[in-house]
Amino acid sequence: MTTSTSPARARILAAIRQHAVPQAELPNLAGDWITFPDPVAKFSEVLTFVGGKPLVATDRAELEAQIRDLAVMQSPEGAALPKVICTVEGLPFGNVDFAKVLDPHHLEDIEVAILPGEFAVAENGAVWVTDRVVPHRAIYFIAQHVVLVVRRADLLDNLHQAYDRLCGSEHAFDQPGYGLFVSGPSKTADIEQSLVIGAHGPRSMTVLLLDA
């Protein structure tokens, strides 16, 4: 079946086109959109508000130390080390080789995923991540804890700047692919509006801004 000749397609398009709807212009998206005198402070404030944990590191040594000290990286006494996937270059934390995981179902017992974020947005505490840097996009959801590393230079003020960046000369959506704004851990308020962190996905989300 080729969809482009399906009878429903013709019917729907005809049903729409039979109505004369007055033309209206598509507005441009330029605007006096909000910016922040201190985007790092704003980002940290908003990420905390949505249940995430913001950290700032001024060099790679500090970055490493900060991650090593995270509560989620500690193994309870006598227990095995938590399973960690790390795809951020130069960090020594991974103990599972992500490239060798052929089936995303096998990621189920991953405790911590340390992954690079492409850029972050101060107004809503979101980080843009893609499937280009990971073999399975499921990792962003199936790991118990997610740690994202973003360069301070890649922190934007607002979402319009984010899409300007994504839709620039190298349009991010020109090729098949997957991209995601993550803002905080997985959460739900479906039981009497009480906020519960860790609905089905990550129980925590840490963002490290690397100011170097």
Partner: protein
Amino acid sequence: MTTTLPILSHPQAASAFAQDDARAHWHDEALWFIRVKRDRQARSLPEWETLRDRASAIKTHTIANLADYLEQFEREATRHGAVVHWAANAAEHNEIVLSILRKHSVKTVAKSKSMLTEECHLNPFLERNGVDVVDTDLGEWIVQLREETPSHIVLPAIHIKKEEVGELFHDKLGTEKGATDPKYLAEAARKRLRQIFLACQAGITGVNFAIAETGGIVICTNEGNADLGVSLPPVHIASVGIEKLIPRAADLGVFLRLLARSATGQPITSYSSHFHGPTRPGHELHIILVDNGRSDILGREDFRRSLHCIRCGACMNTCPVYRRSGGHSYSATVPGPIGSILNPARDPKGYSSLPYACSLCGSCSDVCPVKINIHEQLLTWRHELVAHGHIKFLKKLSMKAVSFVFRRPALYGFAGKMARFALRITPRFLVYGPWNPWGKQRDLPVAPKRSFRDEFQQRSHSKSPAKRSAP
């Protein structure tokens, strides 16, 4: 869902809900709390009104060129390797879903929140055909386990108390008897649903936005359930109402800034996923474009703008009638103010009571992020229903409609303040509309058409958001 009687169905169903004063009051409070959070977010952005204007203009343009954008979307999505299907109605949609699932011998499918699949009654259809469907949004799953339908489009289980969830989970999941701690209960759900995510052979999702320019689809959740459901199994089926189109990817800058702030008072949902084609070899992405009455609404000038709706639920949270009558009283997939426009468009006779489940206070139009003139359309509906003879029991209807919400003082909680509000709003409720014998006989001064709204706007701007001053 049982089909309820036409005409008096909303007042009847609503009074059943309002019988339980404590519950109605609790429901009212819970939704108002979300409305307050929404206000806080809206106020935090100086450009809020500019964003609403842009969103409305983008939607108006899109609807005026919808056929072209649908074709462009199909072209681009196909280029990325997605399979695009078209369904003129619910039956066609359901058949397409089933045929894809059959082709892959799917026994269990994980479904994330999708009002469109609710509208198409997909679950019972698939179950009749031997497919296990699991709703993976926690609220929807609770509702599914209770064999109910969602009572709100964003907060499907907003009508259910934690004690009831505790009982349900004790029954179905073996949690401790009497447990009511949301953390404990959500953890039990997490355990079971993660098993489902790992076991399912396909995932079904709704879609928040479909981008014509790039052929991409965008899905927003807080739980991450949509992504878990479609990132593990090899098949992703996405059902899209044709009104979900936006022209450009960059338009998301406008819509994603408005959506979660309006819906739950969050700056953005935890996850906003952008899918362009299937991204792994052997995986399939099926996108079903569904009309199911939307092209009819597009042809009706008075109601066309209702197609702008991005399903944020803000109009429900703010509606005094919805808050006190509960979502189920609308007997419809989309309840509340916007539902009271969309449902009569599909079935004027069956849903003729819905445009009357409204005090015309205009609060819905004030909060709507895409600036739908909701309360004006509801008034237009009343005229239309009368003109077409769908309203027969005028007197009875008006009396019932008034009573179910405003008669019970206990519903108002903040007795003084709310009673004043009720007094102020009730006469207007009675006189508005050509159907009311009162309004005709009495020579009431012509109420300035916008006075209540104007006043409300002033009040809501001058008072602190925590104060509950008006709907």
